[in-house]
């Protein structure tokens, strides 16, 4: 999906030159989608918000490293993904350590429980949560955000074919998981939606 990168370049250029309006536009034009993306990817609204904040802090600090070769959104995704991996490491370790203390040996599965959704619709989140980080990212970036596999591969730091595999596995999983009577989506919702 080739895109006109000119607006992104101009916007970042102005921001770098210190135009406050440009900073604001940059934030306003990207934050909603990025937030929704992070919520799916992280599975926790509060954490997603924190990571969103960290992402922009880092992005603003490093704006000069944006070379205008990819859409700004992709560039932000890459920062956000890096941040969310860091986050995951921390939280998993913390959960595991707690689990270790609670019970000598039996309990290790770091199910990210205690995550909270404001929405009641958890089937989708449940299914998403079972994907690996890469699978989930690939699914979201492709299905929802409509990025090319080339872009996804760059973001995930893997080969394009690998990105395709992640995506295919994730799709397959979502299809089975949500068909498995989890509610509230019927088969029809997922069939025939090739993108």
């Amino acid at each position: 999906m080739p895109r006109d990168l000119q607006p992104d370049r101009e916007l970042t250029q102005r921001a770098r030159q210190g135009d406050p309006a440009a900073w604001r536009t940059l934030y306003d034009s990207t934050c909603d989608r990025l937030f929704a993306f992070l919520c799916y990817q992280i599975g926790d609204r509060d954490e997603a918000r924190d990571i969103l904040q960290e992402t922009y802090l880092q992005a603003f600090r490093r704006l000069d490293t944006y070379r205008g070769e990819a859409p700004l959104e992709i560039w932000l995704r890459s920062i956000a993904l890096g941040r969310s991996i860091d986050w995951k490491r921390v939280i998993l370790r913390r959960l595991k350590r707690t689990a270790q203390l609670d019970e000598s040996a039996g309990r290790v599965e770091p199910d990210i429980q205690g995550v909270r959704f404001d929405s009641e619709n958890d089937a989708l989140h449940c299914a998403l949560r079972k994907l690996s980080h890469h699978q989930r990212a690939a699914l979201l970036l492709r299905e929802w955000e409509g990025h090319s596999f080339h872009e996804i591969a760059t973001l995930l730091g893997c080969a394009e074919s690998t990105a395709r595999v992640h995506h295919a596995r994730a799709r397959e999983h979502m299809r089975t998981a949500m068909r498995g009577g989890m509610r509230p989506l019927g088969e029809g919702d997922l069939e025939g939606q090739e993108t």
Partner: protein
């Protein structure tokens, strides 16, 4: 898919959106600002921030180092992002609690953000050009500097804390007219108004009047409440750059370790009783490993830690058997163990480029992994075989091999099997395609089953459920049904092992056939996180059911997040065996080559007692079987739970013995095996048998090289295991010696199992940083 995702996407509220913008648009304040949970009151939020700012403030203006000890939260160390290139160089590290969150805007509409008064000289507005700065000095009525006063800009979330010289600085303000409020405990608030233009600094000096205001005392109470309320109560101390240069430290870890409230241990730094994993370190925005503080030279530069351990593997260390003087205790008693999982687990580790943790190694399971080629024999249940030779690894010692060989049963004579598959389909089974391996392994098993065998399937994720009621393998439909059910397995939910096992036992109970082998086959990674999760609690239940003639075989899958303890203990208590399937070849070995042995037990509660002759043996040591120890007096107590042996199974135990000087003939040891024949029916009392065999000193081989190749090979395998286990008795041994013995022995052996051992040792040798040293015989 896109519609579904779009439909359920989370939306950023306008308030959240604005709050984040305010934070990010002033990086100096935002990046180092603790994020506070919504439950904190606005005042509390302010106090925490304020406290932070106070202590970061550094009157000397030199580079400094700040340390924070979180009580219950991970902290991060990062250099303030807004330090401009060209500003003071030197170490500049902060630790900021992480679990604290940004305030919920709805709850804290007025919580001011704080731009730190920083003494670093000449810092331009680092965040957004085009904004203005308000700076100035706060004094008391005597015109003395007023430190630690709050200066806030009304209508915004911005503010600052004055430094010791009374100065403050607030950045990132859009051009406008502002009301500035200065507050200090014990003084009435002062309000000033000023107009600022873009890229300019407005100077606003404020002088407090001499007034004591009782109302202000409330803010002290707020402080106290904040310290109770906040989940990230922190204390901070600063080390100035000057001090840092004086301290006798080479890196930041050491510097942090010197501070009060931190404890150094082998696994990292503990902050105020917290665990090392709760601390996250970042230097210059670069994450430098979650467990240990970075070994960062104070002069700059980072080193990234490598070699992360596998996460959450559960093993239990049972120690290493000591040498026992025959005078004191001539009898050695242990429960038979035919499991071989420990070797496959270790092999998997090594293949992945890691040495297994010592507690994952059980020496007897290493030895038992390899077929012994004990000769076939006639009708009796067991035969005891004993041989021995001088040990190649400890000169002056002999190695004694005690082999038990169970009666072979032809596949066609096998009792029909009533099998219940209990399959873990929890989320964790999705890792590394564990579930795929389970499916392929079960395919192998089902293909081997005959008419007369029956299979039922229970799966468990968040809950257990019956996937397939038992069907006979006789017709084509039954087998097809089972395979189809296996094929459609997909991961789901958390892991309720207890529920799955309970359903499995219920199904086995319903389908119990007295004339058949009733067996549950549990396929799992050993993780249990819902319901009863500890081995003890699940096992208590299992134990009572096993007594009714239902056996439990556990088959472990997966690396990372794998629970060896649970799987082994379940099988042990459940009167069954434990296998670890690391690849499809191992599945083939368990389900195809040794299926009869896997399914049909010929002896229950088998125990071995070896009695050494104290006139001929000075001391002895059993290699392995550490967690199979049975009290000598319990050898004839048939209530004691011991090991199960399947048809054709071989069990090998190795002893290291020190012979008495001059012992050349006569009985060296007597080996007794006691076991119960499998029950005939539900209520039949088991028939207990005991057999024994003597071994004569004269039967020992003169030289190690003259011993049977299989014996020599076993010696190498056991030594390998001992080295991996970090056994005291093998501390002088080298893997290269193991290789030499194994290579020479494997030449005389057929079968690829022995050949497969050598690459594993070779790989382990490359991974091992073990210092090369010769055998030190005096130690032994």
């Amino acid at each position: 898919m896109r519609e579904i995702l779009a439909q359920h996407a989370e939306v950023l509220s306008a308030a959240e959106r604005q709050a984040i913008w305010l934070t990010i648009s002033n990086p100096r304040a935002g990046a180092s600002r603790p994020r506070l949970r919504g439950s904190l009151s606005a005042a509390a939020a302010m106090m925490v921030v304020v406290m932070y700012a106070v202590l970061l403030w550094d009157p000397t203006g030199s580079p400094r180092f700040t340390e924070t000890g979180p009580v219950s939260s991970p902290a991060r160390i990062e250099s303030p992002p807004a330090v401009v290139p060209g500003a003071a160089v030197g170490p500049n590290v902060q630790a900021v609690p992480r679990s604290a969150r940004m305030p919920e805007p709805a709850n804290a509409p007025d919580a001011p953000s704080v731009a730190m008064t920083d003494a670093l000289p000449a810092i331009p507005p680092a965040g957004l050009p085009g904004t203005a700065v308000i700076a100035g000095r706060v004094t008391d009525s005597q015109n003395q500097p007023m430190p630690y006063a709050n200066v806030t800009v009304a209508g915004t979330r911005k503010g600052a804390m004055t430094g010791e010289d009374g100065t403050y600085r607030i950045e990132g303000l859009p051009p406008a007219t502002y009301t500035i409020r200065a507050q200090q405990v014990g003084y009435a608030s002062e309000v000033r108004e000023t107009r600022v233009e873009s890229d300019q600094t407005a100077t606003v000096d404020i002088q407090f009047r001499e007034t004591r205001v009782v109302k202000q005392i409330e803010s002290i109470e707020v402080t106290a409440r904040a310290q109770i309320d906040t989940r990230s109560s922190t204390t901070k101390q600063s080390i100035t750059g000057e001090k840092l240069r004086e301290l006798p430290v080479d890196n930041i870890r050491e510097a942090v370790g010197l501070k009060a409230g931190t404890v150094q241990s082998t696994d990292g730094l503990h902050f105020r009783g917290g665990r090392p994993g709760e601390v996250k370190y970042q230097v210059g925005g670069l994450s430098v490993g979650p467990r240990t503080p970075p070994v960062v030279p104070t002069t700059g530069g980072t080193r990234l830690p490598n070699d992360e351990p596998f996460d959450s593997m559960f093993f239990k260390n049972h120690g290493v058997n000591p040498f026992i003087a025959t005078d004191e205790d001539p009898r050695s008693t242990f429960a038979v163990d035919v499991d071989a999982a420990s070797y496959t687990v270790a092999r998997r580790y090594i293949e992945l480029g890691h040495l297994p943790p010592p507690e994952a190694v059980r020496v007897e399971e290493f030895v038992n992994f390899f077929p012994q080629d004990y000769p076939r024999f006639g009708n009796e249940d067991f035969r005891i075989l004993i041989d021995g030779a001088p040990s190649p690894f400890g000169s002056g010692y002999h190695l004694l091999r005690i082999g038990l060989k169970g009666r072979e049963i032809e596949a066609r004579n096998r009792k029909p099997a009533q099998l219940t598959f209990v399959i873990d389909v929890s989320g964790s089974m999705n890792r590394e395609d564990r579930l795929e391996l389970v499916k392929r392994a079960l395919h192998l098993l089902v293909d081997q089953l005959r008419s007369g065998d029956r299979v039922g399937i229970v799966v468990y994720g968040t809950q257990g459920r019956i996937l397939l009621e038992p069907v006979a393998m006789g017709g084509a439909t039954g087998r097809r049904q089972v395979l189809a059910a296996i094929d459609q397995l997909g991961p789901e939910g958390s892991t309720n092992a207890e529920d799955g096992l309970r359903l499995g036992y219920e199904m086995a109970q319903r389908g119990f056939r007295a004339k058949a082998t009733n067996r549950i086959i549990l396929c799992s990674d050993g993780v249990a996180n819902v319901g009863l999760t500890g081995p003890e609690s699940i096992l208590a239940d299992v134990r009572t059911k096993a007594a009714r003639g239902i056996h439990l075989t556990t088959i472990g899958f997966g690396m990372g997040n794998y629970n060896d303890v649970l799987m082994e203990q379940l099988a042990d208590r459940g009167d069954g065996n434990y296998y670890y399937v690391d690849d499809i070849d191992e599945a083939h070995r368990v389900f195809v080559e040794n299926l009869t042995g896997t399914l049909q037990t010929i002896a229950r509660d088998a125990k071995v007692q070896v009695e050494f002759d104290s006139t001929r043996v000075l001391r002895y040591r059993l290699l392995g079987f550490e967690n199979r120890d049975v009290a000598d007096r319990d050898f004839r107590n048939d209530k004691v739970d011991a090991g199960e042996i399947g048809a054709g199974h071989e069990v090998t135990a190795l002893y290291e013995v020190k012979l008495a000087p001059g012992a050349s003939q006569g009985t060296l040891a007597t080996v007794r095996l006691r076991y119960a024949q499998p029950e005939q029916g539900k209520d039949a009392t088991p028939r207990v048998r005991e057999i024994e065999r003597h071994f004569d000193v004269a039967a020992l081989s003169r030289r190690f090289e003259e011993a049977a190749p299989r014996f020599r090979f076993d010696a190498a395998v056991a030594e390998f295991a001992e080295i991996l286990k970090g056994s005291y008795w093998a501390k002088e041994s080298r893997l290269t010696d193991v290789l030499t013995v194994a290579r020479s022995a494997a030449r005389g052996l057929k079968g690829d199992a022995a050949a497969g051992f050598i690459p594993v040792v070779e790989k382990a040798a490359t991974l091992s940083g073990r210092p090369k040293s010769g055998n030190d015989e005096e130690e032994r």
